[in-house]
């Protein structure tokens, strides 16, 4: 009897205390153009175990802090539910802006809408969503141009004839299809180069390794592997080394990660395509700052694309963390 009364009393006291406390959070953002820098910028990226996204997060945080803001970093690992929860937290924390790398071109639209409804300006980096008019800016690398650049370098390394395989990224990410189509548009001009296998490795090094082993078992006479990003390429290289076939089979990557640059230097990777992630992330934070202070991002279009740079044996010496002199 006492226990029930005590429990009821505890619940009652809690409810009274809660209603007494502040109800509701203000909408997180300052009005556009309120004139002052300062406040929290929340940075949400994909997977911090991937050096590309670590560079993205660190660049954004550093740039935000140098402009006078605080920053918090979160990662959603490609899961739209986790992304939605992190966005909720960004709103709760009264962020003045959010820099977001969306998990899913369709599935992330809901999360962006939540931020728009809370009056918090959103700046998308690295990947886009399939709806305009929600985010203030969408800054992406020009994946189509980068893919064409990479494929041309790949053909040069591999030669005009032979069988090859491809490792593609997570299908829900638009970049996976863009790069794959870009590769195909160049390679299809060489009718003697035949694609004999293509596997989804979800941007992941371990998966790239496993899929490469299977592809190699099925097609032992390939001359090249073209991968949608560097971790998958490095995974493939490990598999080829283990099979002793790294000399005959040429591998290409995409991203411009430091370990890819290392692999180019020691000859196991032929090239990679540098996405100017440091540049466009800095630019995103600067546009956020400009929007907060003046109400304008300073750039006319919402979708902005940044050209990629090819990195191979010739210029790898001047490579620094995701940037090149």
């Amino acid at each position: 009897m006492f226990r029930k009364a005590a429990a009821a009393l505890a619940v009652g006291v809690t409810i009274v205390a809660l209603t007494g406390c502040s109800t509701g959070t203000d909408s997180g953002g300052s009005d556009a153009g309120s004139g002052e820098a300062g406040g929290l910028i929340t940075v949400i990226v994909n997977d911090l175990a991937n050096p590309y996204w670590t560079a993205e997060a660190d660049t954004a945080a550093a740039e935000a802090e140098s402009l006078g803001y605080e920053s918090k970093i979160g990662s959603h690992n490609g899961d739209s539910k986790k992304e939605s929860d992190l966005v909720d937290t960004a709103i709760t924390n009264k962020s003045v802006a959010v820099i977001l790398d969306p998990a899913d071109a369709n599935g992330s639209i809901g999360a962006v809408k939540k931020l728009v409804a809370a009056d918090i300006p959103v700046f998308l980096v690295n990947a886009e969503i399939n709806e305009e008019g929600l985010a203030q800016s969408q800054l992406v690398a020009n994946n189509a141009q980068g893919a064409a650049l990479g494929a041309a370098a790949w053909v040069e390394a591999v030669g005009p004839a032979g069988e090859y395989v491809e490792l593609t990224g997570r299908p829900a990410d638009n970049n996976a299809a863009t790069r794959s189509n870009g590769f195909a548009s160049v390679i299809s001009q060489y009718p003697d180069l035949k694609l004999v296998g293509s596997e989804v490795a979800n941007w992941d090094q371990k998966e790239g390794n496993e899929k490469m082993q299977s592809l190699l078992a099925a097609h032992p006479n390939i001359v090249g592997v073209i991968a949608g990003n560097d971790p998958m390429a490095l995974g493939a290289i490990a598999a080829l080394k283990a099979a002793g076939k790294l000399d005959q089979i040429k591998v290409g990557g995409f991203d411009g990660a430091p370990d890819a640059a290392q692999a180019i230097t020691d000859g196991s990777l032929q090239y990679t395509v540098l996405q100017p992630v440091v540049d466009f992330t800095k630019s995103a934070v600067q546009q956020a700052d400009s929007y907060i202070r003046t109400g304008e991002t300073g750039v006319d279009e919402e979708k902005q694309s940044f050209d990629c740079i090819l990195i191979n044996k010739d210029n790898v010496a001047s490579y620094g963390n995701f940037s090149i002199e």
């Binding site: 809660l18 959070t25 979160g74 899961d79 937290t89 369709n106 639209i109 829900a172 989804v200």
Partner: protein
């Protein structure tokens, strides 16, 4: 009912008839006290934590895991485990998404656009069907629950990915032309300011509690979990109970899947990955025994809230994601340790007075004396 009370008679004696043992009280209500401690600590660390809006929002995050955990509780009470709930969650969302896109039959030249309630019922039926397969594998074919549900996890996840070919179904809000609007009502709306997901969680919790405490099925469940052989011999339809329990778990998973698809208005085939582990953690933190026969809905809810409020609190404060994983793991291990202490027979902690029943079996070390009566009271 008297105990030796030397110096403090009267009030204390009436409040705590079994003797005032602060350690025992702390242990019994450990999930509740843990929740209070978490709320206090994070309120001190961040001004954004303790207000109605954030608490409701964290509850909305918790709701999905809590619904999964209640289904998992039923299975664990039966002495089994269901590793496929995360995959079932994903498949139900995908089935809902597939139906919302319209079922097209090119040969007949028609496309069916089922209305939203039909979509929801079919999505729940998917979960029930997966649960049925689990139940039959485990009861009729005697496959170990861990193995059967692990296999189903891969099968179900593969089916979901096959249906969508790895992509997500966008745009589940529906189209007025086709009469199938309203799917996002679940995810986006509030009733009296409380998110619908939370209300569904409360309804399911009440339903499960009634099922366990008032219905014969509940008694059968606790009995067959505590000692299956004895239950069978006393006439309880143990196999039927098993099948039903997995079906219920599947339905809970599909409810959670529909809620998530509704919140995101998109159906992702990889949704729900590793959610089963969180559900199991919530059940364990709430005091249930993995060997079966012991656990309550209230404890499971508290366990889900402990995990959810802790995780969200760490994100609000801005702790690195890797520290979050360490904290969550530590909490789970601590919870299991405390469970082991509570259930050790030699340490007779204060349980409501009940005639001591003889030890039910030798198989599990944490099946203690006098446990059944105390825990069934919930």
């Amino acid at each position: 009912m008297s105990t030796t009370q030397p110096a403090a008679p009267g009030l204390l004696n009436r409040m705590f008839p079994n003797g005032f043992d602060p350690l025992a009280i702390l242990l019994q209500g450990r999930a509740f006290f843990a929740l209070i401690v978490i709320v206090i600590v994070f309120s001190l660390l961040s001004p954004n934590y303790f207000n109605v809006s954030n608490l409701l929002q964290m509850s909305q995050h918790v709701a999905v895991y809590a619904i999964l955990a209640i289904g998992m509780l039923l299975v664990i009470l039966n002495g089994g485990i269901d590793l496929s709930v995360g995959a079932t969650l994903g498949l139900s969302g995908v089935v809902a998404g597939w139906l919302m896109q319209g079922v097209k039959i090119p040969e007949l030249g028609v496309a069916f656009y089922p209305s939203v309630w039909v979509v929801v019922i079919l999505a729940l039926a998917t979960g029930a069907f997966v649960g049925l397969i689990n139940g039959i594998l485990i009861s009729k074919f005697r496959v170990a629950p861990f193995v059967a549900t692990l296999g189903m996890l891969y099968v179900v996840r593969g089916v979901a990915l096959l249906i969508t070919n790895g992509l997500t179904y966008p745009n589940l809000s529906g189209d007025p032309e086709f009469g199938n609007e309203g799917f996002d009502w679940l995810g986006f709306n509030n009733l009296f300011g409380v998110p619908i997901g939370v209300i569904i969680m409360i309804v399911i919790a009440i339903g499960a509690s009634l099922l366990l405490n008032k219905a014969p099925f509940g008694r059968w469940l606790y009995a067959s979990g505590g000692n299956e052989r004895a239950a069978e011999l006393s006439g309880i339809p143990v196999k039927r109970v098993k099948v039903r329990v997995y079906v219920l778990s599947g339905i809970c998973a599909s409810i959670a899947g529909v809620i998530i698809a509704s919140e995101l208005t998109s159906a992702n085939p990889t949704s729900g990955q590793n959610f089963e582990l969180t559900a199991i953690a919530a059940v364990v933190i709430g005091g249930a025994s993995l060997a079966g026969g012991r656990g309550t809905v209230r404890g499971t809810l508290l366990g889900a809230f402990v995990i959810g409020f802790l995780s969200d609190g760490l994100v609000i404060v801005g702790v690195s994601e890797y520290w979050q994983m360490i904290f969550n793991g530590a909490v789970i291990v601590l919870a299991v340790l405390l469970n082991a202490i509570t259930y050790k027979p030699k340490q007779r902690l204060a349980t409501p007075s009940a005639p001591a029943t003889p030890p039910t079996s030798d198989r599990a070390p944490d099946t203690g004396v006098g446990a059944a009566a105390g825990k069934i009271a919930g």
